[in-house]
Symmetry: C3
């Protein structure tokens, strides 16, 4: 069985390693894969986006654990959600919601059965004390129904919908990646190649098939691997050069 | 079998990957888990604290390797220590000592049997050439007694003991984590909730059950997942905001 | 089977995790090891050096995947190369070449058989869509011959050769590591101990057996674990203190 981890714990401390120790101690045959631990502290939207981008590239029955959890220790619930293809475990604060929006949900369970937690549950590290052991038990075959009572729904983050404007479509930047590429919420389509791209009302570049279609140092929009239009700079950092950040408005003119 | 790694090698280079290649080459069935590789260069105390915090969350017989080793290549010894529950491998410079202080020790072995090293041992990378292969062989079942002669004791880092002061207890910050939370050496207890916390002689916050018990941006002390009182800022970086660093004095008034 | 990954994808996003999901989905028994994902964006030479340093510490038949790929989506080829001991997968841009220079090559294959790619191949993420599934299939036992037609040769990065100068040997810095140590292209040998080291024409230090042979804060050259002479500062960052960077000239006087 596979378990993936998406957190804002960073890699500086022993937190992620400890979570893995707990899971392996419960289910020795599990393989654990890091999606990322470098989500900005408490940035639930970035965690939700990362998970939604990656989860479907994993084999069926993978258990996806996402812990971006600024409300840890308060009354927010913890969830285990079984869908037709996967399991999801994490706080009920929206971090699972963009992935779940694409899945057929079978059951939503509120984590309340302390039998599947560590014996001592801290107020600050449910990643280790609650979510890791629940994932370990699911991985070992404990049915999702056992971890707690059914819950009707879960907290959903609003998705920034794009807007049709005359001959164009307006959206916004939803994520800046490691390379400084700005991923928008505008789904790409083949007929967009050659279209003009406006940022802050000004034409900044055109949609091309790949980065090196423009000269080094020049901006370009490409059909990103995310399924969305991404704004990049060939060999450079688009976020810095074009001053793009999450929420920046982007328009594509057909 | 599980092997954990705690080092200051960082993730920029091929060092950690190479260590894993050596271990897997000796013992293909071993699962290797990173505790952290982001210990500050040569910061033996931070490595010792990370290991002491995490090791007991792993299943019995896990082999914990810690390499924060500024004296590599000099005459400092390498050790393999078997305790009732675990194995520990690393330089004899104190990095293992805070974990070992909590364990029942069965045997302390000085790494001298070159049969369990790589054929060529460099002067600068015993992580790859000595500690990794020894861990691989232990993982494969080589008895700890084989790796070298018995040694009576090991180098122990002093632990900064807390001091009772009238109605309070004075301790110090021993670790700053990724979130900027300052972990102290003061063990938390249930009756501390509501107590006043002094930093540098001034009241800075109170002990609460969890981060969000105070407003965003406000400081709070919480019973940390470490077992110690931790000073945090709800949604912020306590180390930066309160100018806390390792060694900063903290007092809790009952 | 083992697969190693060397990329410039960083750890901030879900890219590396996704690659692992694809590989595990094809070949569940594979163990995946990160060499590094912190190669500077597009720095093919650094990726080539990291791979060449680490690959031979892995067991035979390991599949080494290296994706530093600024030309992704353009006409550059993707390769799978089988050598006497290993497999290598990555773009044909030189990133594999310094490792391959040390190997006996059996076959060089151009990745063209889309049967071994993901069904949808993006223009920007061949790590996920091409290289990961090819590595997964090789790991599962698909013969290298199946992934595409034979290619006679591959693109080779020039290696900066050292120059004999009177009583000395002149080379250059080829890599700065996490500790700030400057790795040169000068192969070390036992008789170099005690030799004078010139940087920028000035004597900066001597070759010693290990870092702590000099006082804290002092520069020293050591026989590095890389097989090359490395310039370090005991307890400090040689790159910053001595203003060393890739390409800096270094001379060792016998």
């Amino acid at each position: 069985m596979l378990v993936t981890l998406t957190t804002d714990f960073g890699l500086k401390d022993w937190f992620v390693g400890t979570i893995k120790g707990v899971i392996q101690g419960i289910s020795a045959q599990t393989t654990i894969i890091d999606l990322t631990h470098e989500i900005r502290s408490g940035d639930i939207r970035a965690g939700a986006f990362a998970l939604a981008q990656a989860y479907q590239f994993f084999p069926r029955k993978t258990i996806h654990v996402a812990v971006v959890d600024p409300g840890v220790g308060s009354s927010r619930a913890g969830l285990a959600v079984q869908t037709e293809r996967y399991f999801f475990v994490g706080p009920d604060n929206g971090v699972l919601s963009w992935a779940l929006a694409k899945e057929k949900i079978l059951t939503i369970r509120r984590l309340e059965n302390r039998k599947y937690f560590l014996p001592l549950v801290s107020h600050t590290f449910h990643g280790r004390d609650v979510f890791a052991p629940v994932a370990g038990h699911l991985s070992k075959g404990v049915p999702c129904e056992k971890v707690g009572p059914e819950q009707k729904d879960f907290i959903r983050l609003p998705w920034p919908e794009t807007v049709r404007k005359g001959h164009g479509i307006q959206g916004e930047v939803v994520y800046i990646d490691h390379f400084g590429n700005a991923i928008t919420d505008i789904p790409h389509s083949a007929e967009m190649i050659g279209s003009r791209v406006l940022v802050g009302g000004k034409t900044r570049c055109y949609v091309e098939a790949f980065y090196q279609a423009v000269a080094p140092g020049k901006p370009v929009a490409v059909p990103g691997s995310s399924g969305f239009v991404e704004i990049a700079v060939n060999g450079g950092n688009a976020s810095q050069i074009l001053k793009l950040k999450t929420g920046s408005k982007v328009t594509i003119l057909h």
